[in-house]
Structure formats: C-alpha cells, structure tokens
C-alpha cells in the first residue's frame, strides 16, 4: 500500500483551499467534462445504457470466481502468464521478479490506478529501475513528484505556466507555455524512452473472460507504445475489472468513454491476446497479467459490493462540488472524489481513511452520473454509520443520543428550543449570531448563524388556530 500523507482530509483540503488557483483550474476542467458528458449521451438512451451497464457489472461481480478462472484459462492458451496477487506485496514482488529475470531496467508505464494503489513506482525505483510514466498528465505529475489529482486528468490542478516551468527545470528545455509546444516537448522526450524501454507496465480497462484478452483504451497512444515496443509487457488488472465476453463491451465501452471524457470512443482501443506469435515481426516476447485483490475480496460479502462495479471513469469526480474545490490530493490516497471516499476506507481501513466518507455534502450528483448506477451517496451514509460505530468520539455519540432522546417527543423538543432561545440572547447581535460555542464555532468561523425565531411556527399556529 502506498503511504498516506499525514493529517486529515480537513487539513489537506484546508491547505489546498489556500491556493485558489487550484479550485479555478479544476473548476474549468470539470465544467468542460460535465458539458462533454451531457453532449455525448444526448443522442442515446443513457438510462437504458446505465441499466444494462449495472446489470452486466452486477452479474460479473457475483460470478467473479467463474470468470476469473475462465480468464486465466483462456489467457494461458495464448501464452499470457497470469499471476494472482492477494495483496500489494505479492503483486509488487511478482513484477520485481519478472523485471529481474528479464534484465529489465528501463520501464515505460501506461496509466494504471492499481499501480498507484500498490506503490509500484517507489518500489521499482528503489531497485534502481528507471520508471517513466508516459501518459502526458501522469508524466507531468511524476516530474513534479506528486500523485495524480484526478483519475483521467492527472495534472488537472496545474496551470500551463506551472507545467512550462516544470519542463524547463526538469528537462532543461526552453519551451513556451503553449499546450501544443509542451505536449510535443514531452512527445520527443518520451519517444526516446519508448524506443529504449525493456519493459512496459500498463493498467487494464477490461479483461475479457471468454478470450483472456486485455482491453486498454487511451487517447494519446502511450498504451500502444508500452505494449508494442518493449520485450516484456506487464499488465495490472484489478480483479473486478472483467467482462464475461466481448459482447458486453458494446455497452460498457461507450459508457466508460462518454462518462470519462465525453468521447463517443477513444482514439485507441487496444485488444491484446498474449505475446507476439512466432510469425509476427514485433510485439513483446512475454505478456504478464497480475490480477490484484489487495482488499477487494473483503468488500464482496458486504453491503458495499456494488463499489466493485466501478469502471473508473471519474465522472463522479467531475461533478462532485467538494472535489471541485480541492481536487484529488485532499483525499490523500490513490482514489479521490466520491469513488475514493467510498473505496479508500474499505481498502485501507477506517484508521487510515475513516474521515473520507464525511468529505461529501451528500448532494447526490455522483450517484446521478455513475454509468453503472452505483449508489455512491448511500454507500457514504452507510460508511459513516460503520465508522461512527467504532470511531465516533464520546462527545459526538452523546450529542446524537441526547438529541435523539429530546427530539423524539414534542414536549422535550419544545424545551430544547426554549432553552436555546434563552441561551442565544448572549450571542445574538443585530439579528445574527457572529460567534457561537463549539461545535457551532466551526460554522461561525466563516458564516453567521441565524438566531432562533422568537416565536416558533407551532406557537404561531396555536395562537392563530388554537390547538
């Protein structure tokens, strides 16, 4: 598991809020993404697509052992070596061993959230391997020594000027801040890395159980490079990312690309079925698939199972008003936004990420766009319950108990209101409360509180109509 930065979500978010350019950059990007999504699905029955997507994912996850087994069998038939990794250390260990055995030192990497989850780059770096991220956004954040800030737009939080300064500093270049110039600068650097690489490591969007094929979508073409040029290709596959057969992709692919980037289809859709055949002139001599559990199987038997239906489109991040203010770094782990707020506590435990389910105003925008109808906001509420059961402070527990006791009867409800009305006389200034004791002090630090009305509605009603 990659190490979590210290501090709470609130601390990290607070630090990011101090940099208004972050929210501005993310906001602009997210608006484009949200518009793209609504445009791309406008000509289709998106609700029918989502329902089908949900059914396909639910079916697959409920039958996962069967499909994993079929995938491994089929992959084996065309020479793909499949390794089942129970956890991060097994997965990393296997990758290291393959690289060692094949003498691979120069590694090019395609986008893989699983590799972030495994902390793979750091592990390989400590072995002396030279690991280069090749998705442009990933390359930028790697140069900046940062984790990705968004699933599909890793450098979403950075401006062109920051990226120019970074390139000029790290690559010894003198390039303008034009996105085209910056992109082509990266193209030149990365082209040499691709041609010199010993091994390519990529993620996988879908594994096809029927044929043992790997399906990878990209727009830049880096996955084509990573899987075509080096002698060795290692693919990291979250164990839940299977489809029974190609057929289901007819719905899942457009759901993925439409939700992720507002595209009808990506520039490249790679379908990989093993190492190169003897008669083929190029392609890797070895193809490995590492099927990663790393905490996923523990979710299978729980009420959160549907979180494993996720196809990592990032749409929930694009519409999340909390994510919009601070980006993925505030969440402190691999997955940010609503998907991260659900997944991280489940994969990493409440000790590590128990505060994330509260990193949501429960506005339901995430659930509304999820291409496979995961009830994200309901999972957040349930997780808050589970976290509270073991980790709520005594004060919080007492507050809610007391509140439940007093407000479960109209008479005691009335008493609390009367007491509060008396108490607020000390606090109210010209019809507002500018400062209040804890925990309401957290509200009044940035906003005024309204005082309770002198006469509540129920008293007005009684006065007007009797009881």
């Amino acid at each position: 598991m990659s190490a979590r930065p210290p501090g709470s979500f609130r601390d990290r978010a607070g630090a990011l809020l101090e940099r208004p350019e972050v929210a501005a950059a993310i906001g602009r990007a997210m608006d484009i993404r949200a518009r793209g999504r609504s445009t791309v699905f406008s000509g289709a029955d998106v609700e029918a697509m989502r329902a089908a997507g949900e059914a396909i994912r639910a079916h697959t996850i409920a039958n996962l052992p069967r499909y994993l087994d079929a995938f491994a069998e089929a992959a084996d038939r065309h020479g793909t070596r499949v390794f089942f990794a129970a956890d991060a250390s097994e997965a990393v260990g296997y990758v290291r061993e393959v690289l060692r055995r094949t003498g691979s030192r120069r590694i090019v990497k395609g986008k893989s959230m699983v590799s972030e989850e495994l902390g793979l780059n750091a592990a390989l770096g400590s072995d002396g391997a030279e690991v280069t991220e090749t998705d442009l956004g990933e390359y930028i954040v790697q140069l900046a020594h940062e984790p990705p800030a968004h699933i599909t737009v890793p450098a979403v939080h950075m401006t062109r000027a920051q990226i120019r300064d970074l390139f000029n500093r790290e690559l010894g270049a003198a390039v303008s801040d034009e996105p085209r110039a910056l992109t082509h600068m990266a193209r030149r650097v990365l082209r040499d890395r691709f041609l010199a690489a010993d091994a390519g490591i990529t993620g996988v969007n879908f594994g096809v159980a029927e044929t043992g094929s790997l399906v990878i979508v990209t727009n830049e073409g880096n996955a084509r490079m990573c899987t075509s040029l080096p002698r060795v290709h290692i693919a990291l596959l979250g164990m839940e990312r299977l489809v029974p057969s190609f057929r289901e992709l007819a719905v899942l692919l457009p759901l993925l690309t439409g939700s992720a980037t507002g595209q009808r289809i990506t520039a490249y859709l790679n379908v990989i079925a093993g190492p190169r055949r003897p008669e083929e002139p190029d392609g890797p001599d070895e193809v490995h698939v590492v099927v990663v559990d790393n905490g996923r199987s523990a979710i299978l038997g729980s009420e959160y199972r549907s979180i494993l239906h996720c196809i990592r489109c990032g749409a929930c991040q694009n519409v999340c008003p909390v994510f919009r203010q601070v980006g993925g770094h505030a969440y402190g782990g691999t997955y940010g936004g609503p998907i991260g707020a659900v997944l991280a506590p489940l994969l990493e435990g409440f000790e590590q990420a128990g505060d994330l389910p509260h990193a949501s105003s429960l506005c339901v925008a995430c659930t509304e766009v999820c291409p496979v109808n995961i009830p994200l906001h309901e999972h957040l509420i349930s997780l808050r319950r589970d976290v509270a059961a073991t980790r709520a402070s005594a004060g919080e527990r007492l507050t809610f108990r007391l509140w439940g006791l007093l407000w479960s009867r109209p008479r005691t409800y009335g008493v609390t209101a009367r007491v509060a009305r008396v108490g607020q006389r000390l606090l109210a200034r010209r019809g507002r409360i500018p400062r209040a004791p804890f925990p309401l002090s957290r509200w009044t630090a940035g906003r005024d509180l309204p005082p309770l009305a002198r006469e509540p509605f129920r008293d007005r009603w009684r006065r007007r109509h009797g009881s």
Partner: protein
Amino acid sequence: MDRSAFLDRVRTRLAGTIAPDLPGELPRTMVSGDGRGFDRFAEELAALGGEARSVSPDELEEAVKAAAEGCTRAVLGADLGPYADRVAGGLAAAGCAVLEPGREGAAAADLGVTGAVFGVAATGSVLLSSGPGAPRTTGLLPERHLAILPRDRLLPGLEELIGRLPAATGSASQMVLVTGPSRTSDIEMTPVLGVHGPEHVIVLMVGG
C-alpha cells in the same frame, strides 16, 4: 497466492450472493450504426481531425500520392492485399522512399501505410491487426498514418465490430481500433493532436 486459493477466497466471500442474469438484449448506444455508411464514417473522422476518401481501385494510386504529399520516407504493411502495387505506385509518384518495415524503419519514416481489417462507420474507426509482415509500429510511429480500407469491410457500428472480435482475436496477438489522430487534453483541457501516435490519420476506402 496460487490461483485456486485466490479463487476460493473470492468464492467464500461471495457465498450467498444472488447473481442477476446478463441482459438479454443490449440497448443501442451513441456508437451504434445508423444505416449511413461511408458518409457517416467520413463525417465522424473529419470531426476528430482525420480525413477519409472513398475511391475506386483505379483512383487509388492518385489518392495515395495526394495523401503522401510532403512525406519523404514511408513504411508499408504487408496487409495491403491486392492494393499493394497501387499504393507503391502512389508513393513513388509522391517521391516518397520506401523503408524496410520494423522498428528502425518506422521510427525514421514520416508515413506509415497499413491495411485495415474493418472500418466502423458510426465512429470513423479502422481496426488494425498485427500479423505476418504487419508490424505494430507501421501505423504507430510515423507522424502520418494512411489506412487502406476495403469497401466490403465497413461495418455500421461498434456492436458489429465487437461481434467480430472473438474470431479475429484467435490469430493476432494485438488489434487496435484507431479512431482519428492521437490526442490529449491533459494541459488545461486544451485539445492537442499528435501526442505519441500519429498526428494525421487518412483513410482511403477502396472498392468497386
């Protein structure tokens, strides 16, 4: 972990889960076919910054010459079938030298010419397949990619293509569906073409 232990763990955790059936019929999507053939194909590809032309076999040589304009070194796939001679003729007419295919040749070339197993009208895509004489690098490394698509290989939508993938996947270790130029919007969401793959994609659909 060995496979059976891994799967046993998954099976144990899933115990008692009721599995819904796969949906019998899948809904149409925005990449389903609409009955329009090449016109749709050309529209979609143009919208992405690529270009497509429909030509007769007799027009092919001239069309290849036009597509190769400005290029000096080309690599050719061996998957051009009956059109190989006309493509070679077009390149010669454009003054474009033909390099040995493979990594070195493709890295030095500014034009890669490939065949296409299928085309998809609804998306403007072509399916490339690795195979004997058809290195993956031909359509990948040069800045310009010219694909020759036989007319009878144009399919209406993504569903039809996907229906043909299982059969095609048996023989080739890699297939790639190419839809327009390589692109990114990773810097301030500004679209830029030509990141790692070709910046220019031209498809010539050939048929009687």
